[in-house]
């Protein structure tokens, strides 16, 4: 069994195998408690699955984006996220429940909100196919920067490059390649035009 510090580190690495190992442990260690809580508070088995999965995704996102403290207790943190998500659902559905909102219930704070989009814009759907099939160093740089939020100095170290300047250059070569593939697409052009128009109005 890995410690919390090790699990956090595994989720921040660019290695799917490590990620899956960490998720597996988090899953098996935390499902029983979350299940008990939700089922005892007007929830169904389906609710348990949805809330628990949303909670893990929020946890992973926060670990990668917010550089959470290494002294964090993952179990307590995940429980808090799932509890708040569940209470949020109950509030939104306006169900009658035999549950008093206890003093420990908090409004979801910013660090507990999932920052990933649920639906892509049309122009982004074009990028979806492109980025799903990107391979090699571009894929590596994009994942390290855009998903794992690594600074270019860190990426240089990970990929064995001399310095961040080299990585920045490589990144812009990869971005140029993507731009060339989308810039003539009418849907992407339309989305970009709308975005630029909104910017000038704000």
């Amino acid at each position: 069994m890995q410690t919390d510090i090790k699990l956090i580190s595994m989720l921040r690495q660019n290695c799917k195998k490590e990620e899956k190992t960490a998720l597996q442990q988090i899953y098996s260690q935390n499902l029983p408690n979350i299940r008990i809580y939700i089922l005892n508070n007007s929830g169904t088995a389906e609710d348990v699955k949805e809330v628990f999965h949303d909670g893990i995704i929020a946890l992973v996102s926060n670990i990668r984006e917010n550089e959470l403290e290494i002294t964090l207790n993952l179990k307590a943190y995940l429980f808090k996220i799932c509890k708040n998500k569940w209470l949020d659902r109950l509030r939104k559905n306006k169900l009658k429940y035999n549950l008093s909102l206890d003093d420990t219930f908090n409004q979801p704070s910013n660090d507990q909100l999932v920052s990933t989009k649920l639906v892509l814009e049309e122009g982004q759907q074009l990028l979806y196919d492109l980025l799903s099939n990107t391979k090699g160093d571009c894929q590596k740089i994009f994942r390290l920067f855009f998903v794992l939020n690594k600074r270019l100095t860190e990426i240089a170290e990970i990929m064995g490059h001399d310095n961040e300047k080299v990585v920045r250059n490589r990144k812009y070569v990869c971005l140029k390649k993507v731009r060339k593939m989308v810039e003539q697409n009418p849907v992407y052009k339309r989305d970009l035009k709308e975005y630029l128009t909104i910017l000038t109005k704000v």
Partner: protein, 261 residues
Amino acid sequence: MKNLELSDKLLIEKYLLNQLTAKEQSVFQQKLKKEHTFAEAFKLQLDIQQTMKYIETQEIRQYLEELYAKETTKEPTDKQTENPQENKSDTAKHNIRNLSPLLKYAAAIVLLIGVSLLYFFSGETSKTTDQLIAEHFSIPELNFTIRGENGNTDEAIKAYKNGEFEKVVQLTKQSQDNPQLHLALGISQLQIGQTDQAIQTFEILQSNDQYDDQATWYLAICYLKRKDKENAKTQLRMLSDGTVKSTVGWKDKANQLLKQL
């Protein structure tokens, strides 16, 4: 689209990594409203970030579904089948321990001979970086299409054609705009042993659409000159996998050199 200044690139990076100071936030917002090139460049990266995170979330969700299926259909472990496996493993260990000492020494000698042969043959067949450079690099003839911009330009072109590379480096600045001269400068720097400067020159040229393939190739040669095979391979792979679109057989040259590295 015009290339961004370094300061703009840094601003976008910091925004996406959530590292802008309050002052930088203000500068960022102003640029977003007023500079189209900046806004377009930012939007592309924002779209890529959001799309990649979406892909990542989907992949994680899929894996969580698999875990859920396993958790909810867990079977009890079959303890009866464990012992035969343990017994097999014990026997194997027992056998190994009883292996004759003479056989152990024989195995060690064979291993030693094998490693020596490998070392000997790998030393003979793999080429040094100098040999690879000699095989794959030659000074290209450049057909300059620029003329009479200033005295230095003409002089630099003449010097290049005459193989006076020191003079080319003296007459040409890294900050100048013309990509042909830039290429000539990089090759000259490489030729006279100013490898670090050559790397910087080619890195700048790599952002030019017409010359990025050549710049990438010569960057690989520069890294070989520094005996840095890993970085050389990285550059060559960009040509090989199409990250940098290439013309005139640069991809083939890259593939050939990659095989030898």
